[in-house]
């Protein structure tokens, strides 16, 4: 149990900078998820916390102790790798107890703690098998078990679920969450799956090209993304981000799209008129509205029913607009569809920097 502080940490491989000054403050017991597209430096940061990569500059503190120069074994952390990294020449019990054995714990204590962890993860019947005799999901649990046996200060996970099939992933997701609620160990979890991030995290750190774009609770990031990158990254299907400018007519606000055409904004929309802007609107915040006065028409281009909901690609002028309807829809391709934007769901961004206005 410990807090984890990352202070202006940088990393370069040779002359190639990979992390450009990352600072994150993680209080004791928090479950933090690092998300970001491939290659943004998530694994690198995690491995620096673990001590597997050197820190080019900046400081990492675990429990108020700067660990920059400590080897991994002195940092009191446990890590679960994407490919599990189980020792093939040891059985499950030996895999789980290896760290304790190296720490010089007694046989009885090791057996007790391995058994306790095996109980939590339903690994009891597998304790004397070799990793090669386990399924992918079972290996994953052993890797988790090996981490919790240690009772470390910090758990580090690097995409632990990405090798599992979809169903197992959902099951393990809630299992890990439950485990965290039970153990309350400070956790840093890397994923590029935004659903994992949204459902599991106390706080999400969104990274992009070696910088932190935004840190916050999942729903805060969803409701108030700090910039167009975060806006586009979190949420599925991704947020529509439309260039254009606001025009006010009487008391209504109209958004003129840069690609031609316009759409009417809900009443109460703020935002300076006559300035180039980026308008962000999530597909699920657009409704089909045949009667309302705040509606506009968009041509249906593609219709994708998934059973529960319907994803519609529409077009205004030359701009595509994704619409997600939480129902079945009988729209006709090629015909205009009356749409309206739910009030209070608009995001406005500055076009050059992408920052939220």
């Amino acid at each position: 149990m410990a807090n984890l502080t990352i202070r202006d940490v940088r990393k370069s491989y040779g002359s190639v900078p990979v992390l450009h000054g990352v600072s994150i403050e993680i209080p004791d017991g928090e479950f933090v998820i690092l998300v970001g597209p491939s290659g943004c430096g998530k694994s690198t940061l995690l491995r620096m916390i673990a001590g597997l990569e050197t820190i080019t500059s900046g400081e990492i503190e675990i429990g108020d102790r700067v660990v920059n120069d400590l080897p991994p074994r002195a940092r009191d952390i446990a890590m679960v790798f994407q490919n599990y990294a189980l020792y093939p020449h040891k059985n499950v019990a030996e895999n789980m107890g290896y760290a304790l054995k190296l720490a010089g714990r007694s046989k009885e204590e090791i057996a007790k703690r391995v058994n306790a962890a095996a109980d939590i993860l339903d690994l009891k019947p597998l304790l004397y098998r070799r990793p090669s005799q386990l399924s992918g999901g079972q290996r994953q649990r052993v890797a988790m078990g090996r981490a919790i046996v240690r009772d470390p200060k910090v758990f580090l996970f690097d995409e632990p679920l990405s090798n599992l099939d979809a169903k197992l992933r959902v099951a393990m997701r809630s299992e890990i969450k439950e485990l965290h609620q039970r153990l309350r160990t400070t956790t840093v979890y890397v994923t590029h799956d935004q659903i994992e991030a949204m459902t599991m995290a106390d706080r999400i750190v969104v990274m992009h090209s070696g910088v932190v774009e935004q840190v916050g609770a999942p729903l805060d990031l969803y409701d108030r993304p700090a910039n167009t990158f975060v806006a586009g990254f979190l949420g599925s299907p991704a947020m529509n981000i439309l260039p254009g400018q606001i025009r006010r007519e009487n008391s209504t606000a109209i958004f003129d799209l840069a690609g031609g055409g316009s759409l009417q904004l809900p009443p109460g929309t703020v935002g300076e008129a006559g300035q180039p802007l980026l308008l962000g609107i999530r597909p699920e915040h657009i409704v089909v509205d045949p009667t309302g006065d705040a509606s506009f028409n968009a041509d249906v281009v593609v219709l994708e029913p998934t059973g529960a909901d319907t994803l519609i690609t529409t077009r205004i002028g030359s701009t595509d607009l994704l619409v997600l309807i939480r129902d079945r829809m009988n729209a006709t391709v090629g015909k205009p569809l009356p749409l309206a934007i739910q009030p209070g769901r608009l995001h406005l961004f500055e076009p050059n920097t992408g920052r939220r206005l």
Partner: protein, 295 residues
Amino acid sequence: MTVMSSDGPVRSKGGSVMSERQRMILGRLLSYLTLGIAVLLILFPVYWMVITSLKLPREIYRVPSLWPKAFTLDNYYTLLFDKNFLHPIFNSLIVATTVTVISVIFSAFAAYSMVRFRYRFKGVIGRLILFAYLTPGSLLFIPLSILMAQLGLSNSLQGLILVDLAFSVPLATWLLQGYFRGVPRELEEQGLIDGLSRMGALFRIVLPLSAPGIAAVSIFVFTGAWNELLFALVLVTSESQRTAPLALNYLITSDVLPWGPLMAGAVVSSLPLMILYFVAQRFMVQGLTAGSVKG
């Protein structure tokens, strides 16, 4: 075999009808025949060596026969007692074992660093190692013998060991690199997190998982050092420092080859190798890293 019933007739090109089952048996027979020929090719010289070593001289020089009329241990007696052949065998054991142990330890460190660490000139060093390994011994025996003379190590087993090492370390390093690469990096990192030092990770994770590689490299190096003749011929002058191949060579003293003792010597010299192969074979099982990582 889900579509066609297993013994349904299959018409071959020649028009003859052969059931699937007969085909399978024929295939089996052919593969056993091929393997049998290969085994025969390899084992016949060995058989000839053993059988000759057990024949009396008059039988050896007569028309060769596959089976001796009378068995004798005379050749072995001559070899072991008159020629004191156990002494060169002992010398060879010292040389080959020392070379093997030192080579494996040295090249394990070298190969590990080449595989895991990043440092300046790593690529150049790697190529130089390969280059050293590819340089033929016949090109180097004169400079090396001068070098040994200047070091005061000519006509000594130490000198021979040093020279053998110059050839075996690059080879062993090169081979071990391949095996070390096969050990997933994450396994070692997990070891570091679990409480091992770098050295600990090398000895407790990388080396055990590379056991087949270590066994193969040991066999290679040991065999090379055991059979080495050229440098022994150049470096060793006194009888007490002779190795087995050299002593075998010195059995030939006239135009008439003493086939009996020679073959007995060959048998005795190959025994340690056979024992080594037998022991090492147990470690050469493949797939030690199976199941460690997904992928």
